[in-house]
């Protein structure tokens, strides 16, 4: 929320700087004395975790780029060189690869948090839209990065994904040649993917700034989903939330460290340690785990009327992502938090199950049981956003929402009890 600045420069230099570039004031008002709802739970710590992940990715990425060679003949060898010869190269690479995995884990939790507590609703629509843009940039960046080691999975992921653009009517082949810089994925493709991989990371950082700006105008949502009514509902960001975020970050980093040091390849695919071979496709192509749900949607869709399955699959996959942009307007309920929405809460958890089911189906070959699960879950995915969300606001009777954030804490016992659920 917009609030009066409480920054007091404490030295002559600080005063001098403040009247020229009030950057310390901005930092103080944004991250020290920023009034924050006092009831945020641990699901609110993932924004900070994501920011730290991005920093880790950029720092390890810049270090890797000092040793990596973006050339079809040398890329694979240069990654092996990083693993064997470069001082701590193994650490940098495992850090980079596993942080990107954990980055996605954190972003999925972050997004589901927003979905559960209605954080995308008025007045936070722009904040949500910027978040979806970040998600799309992350997808692009991770895909481009995965191609760089130029192993078999890199090469065939690049082939399968770029070929999705082939469904564009009339100019599909031209677009493909333009993307590849040739007649197939090859050296020119690798070179441009490297350039764009580097670029996107910084675009992401830029959009993160906008995202936080858009957060600081309306202020945080909170588990009750009700507006802050006054100073009694808030506490300063520092030290209360710096400590809470710091603790959560510590736990997160321990998990990340366990992955890096004890199971650095568990999330990767062994075939990516085979150099790219344009003439042989691995028997079973799977993307990284964080793309599996979308991969499942891509392959779940059959021919629809005159649209062939291939095109329909691509459209469905894109729609699955772009639907998120419309979420603030698809949800017709005025109540934000699922705590007070008994029906929505149930559909929400079914949605989570459908996403996990899609992830499983994406890892299997698309036939029999896996195909069936993928189709049902895909249907639910779209029904959730396009049918259930618009309808619920009309048919659901929400529970009564507390008057203010402080009320249940200070007020009567029955109200206090409802404050512990969800």
């Amino acid at each position: 929320m917009a609030h009066a600045s409480t920054y007091k420069p404490r030295s002559g230099f600080a005063r001098w700087l403040d009247s020229r570039l009030p950057i310390m004031r901005l930092a103080h008002d944004s991250f020290v004395d920023f009034p924050t709802p006092k009831n945020l739970n641990y699901w609110w710590t993932f924004g900070g975790i994501l920011s730290v992940c991005l920093v880790i990715l950029i720092v390890s990425g810049v270090a890797l780029s000092m040793h990596y060679t973006p050339h079809a003949d040398f890329a694979f060898a240069s990654v092996e060189h990083i693993m064997r010869d470069v001082n701590y190269g193994w650490l940098l690479r495992y850090m980079h690869a596993n942080s990107s995995s954990m980055f996605f884990l954190a972003v999925y939790i972050h997004m589901l948090r927003g979905l559960y507590y209605g954080s995308y609703k008025e007045p936070r629509e722009v904040l949500w839209i910027l978040g979806v843009m970040l998600f799309i940039l992350m997808i692009a960046s991770a895909f481009l990065g995965y191609v760089l080691p130029w192993g078999q999975m890199s090469f065939w992921a690049a082939t399968v994904i770029t070929n999705l653009f082939g469904v564009i009517p009339f100019i599909g082949d031209e677009v493909l040649a333009w993307l590849w810089g040739g007649f197939g994925v090859d050296g020119p493709t690798l070179n441009r993917f490297y350039s764009l991989h580097y670029l996107l990371a910084f675009l992401i950082a830029g959009v993160v700034v906008l995202h936080i700006w858009a957060l600081h105008v309306p202020g945080n949502n909170n588990p009750k989903g009700i507006d802050v009514k006054g100073p009694q509902d808030t506490i300063p960001f520092h030290p209360y939330y710096t400590v809470k975020d710091g603790f959560a970050l510590g736990v997160f980093l321990i998990v990340l460290a366990l992955l890096i040091f004890y199971a650095p390849n568990i999330l990767g695919h062994p075939d990516n340690y085979i150099p790219a071979d344009p003439l042989t496709t691995p028997e079973h192509i799977v993307p990284e785990w964080y793309f599996l749900p979308f991969y499942a949607i891509l392959r779940a869709v059959p021919d629809i009327l005159f649209i062939p399955a291939k095109t329909a699959g691509v459209i469905a996959m894109l729609l699955a992502i772009f639907t998120l942009f419309l979420l603030p307007w698809l949800d017709s309920s005025k109540v934000r938090s699922a705590r007070y929405r008994p029906l929505f809460k149930q559909f929400f958890w079914i949605f989570v199950i459908a996403c996990v089911a899609l992830g499983w189906a994406g890892s299997q070959s698309p036939e029999g049981m896996a195909l069936l699960v993928a189709r049902i879950s895909t249907l639910y995915y779209f029904a959730f956003f396009w049918v259930i969300m618009p309808l619920l606001g009309v048919i659901e009777t929400p529970k009564s929402v507390p008057d203010s954030i402080s009320k249940p804490v200070l007020g009567s016992g029955s109200a206090a009890a409802s404050g512990t659920s969800g």
Binding site: W156, T159, V160, T162, N163, L164, G166, A177, W178, L179, W180, G181, G182, F183, G184, D186, P188, R192, P278, L279, T280, T281, P282, E283, H284, I285, R299, P308, A309, K310, G313, S365, P366, E367
Partner: protein
């Protein structure tokens, strides 16, 4: 400071101003759009990649029933020396019922030689044709990526791929040699 706005908007100069703004913006906009083109076009295949490579294949060592893989423009091309049964199966397929109807005769120049680009028309994997197992249900090729089955003429019979395997441009230089491209 809220005076005179209405007045100003109605001044006789407004039209001329608007025109100048629009014209200037349009010229600058078109200029910017045009100067984008080199940045887009630089990503297209370069001259050396474009220089259409051709590939010559000697057919004599390929035995009946055998398939070889050659590289043409960086892409795999399958050359299959078909057996009598394979030719018969390819010719007797119910053309009208195929997802991408094409007769076998339209796809080969000489019955015993089937030449197709080995790139799945679904999302670009390389279909396999391993005589022992992975040939798919129609005896031709099987794409392991998402399960497309191709027949003895390289036609799509089952699975997500929409089109038949492409037949590259080629000509017989003599009875035992072809030039692809």
């Amino acid at each position: 400071m809220a005076e005179a706005h209405v007045e100003e908007d109605q001044s006789p100069d407004t039209d001329r101003r608007d025109f100048l703004y629009i014209a200037t913006t349009a010229v600058a906009g078109i200029g910017a759009a045009i100067s984008l083109w080199p940045f887009i076009d630089q990503m297209n295949p370069t001259a050396n990649v474009q220089a259409l490579a051709t590939t010559e294949v000697d057919l004599s060592p390929i035995e009946t029933g055998q398939t070889i893989k050659v590289v043409w423009q960086g892409k795999p091309v399958y050359v299959r020396h078909r057996t009598q049964e394979q030719i018969k199966a390819a010719q007797s397929a119910p053309v009208d019922d195929l997802p991408d109807p094409e007769t076998d005769a339209d796809r080969v120049q000489q019955d015993q030689w089937l030449i197709v680009v080995g790139i799945c028309t679904h999302l670009g994997c390389i279909p396999v044709s391993d005589p022992d197992n992975l040939r798919g249900e129609f005896g031709g090729w099987f794409c392991p990526c998402h399960g497309s089955h191709y027949d003895d003429s390289g036609r799509i019979r089952k699975g997500p791929a929409p089109d038949n395997l492409a037949v590259p441009p080629y000509q017989f230089i003599d009875d035992n040699k072809i030039l692809i491209g």
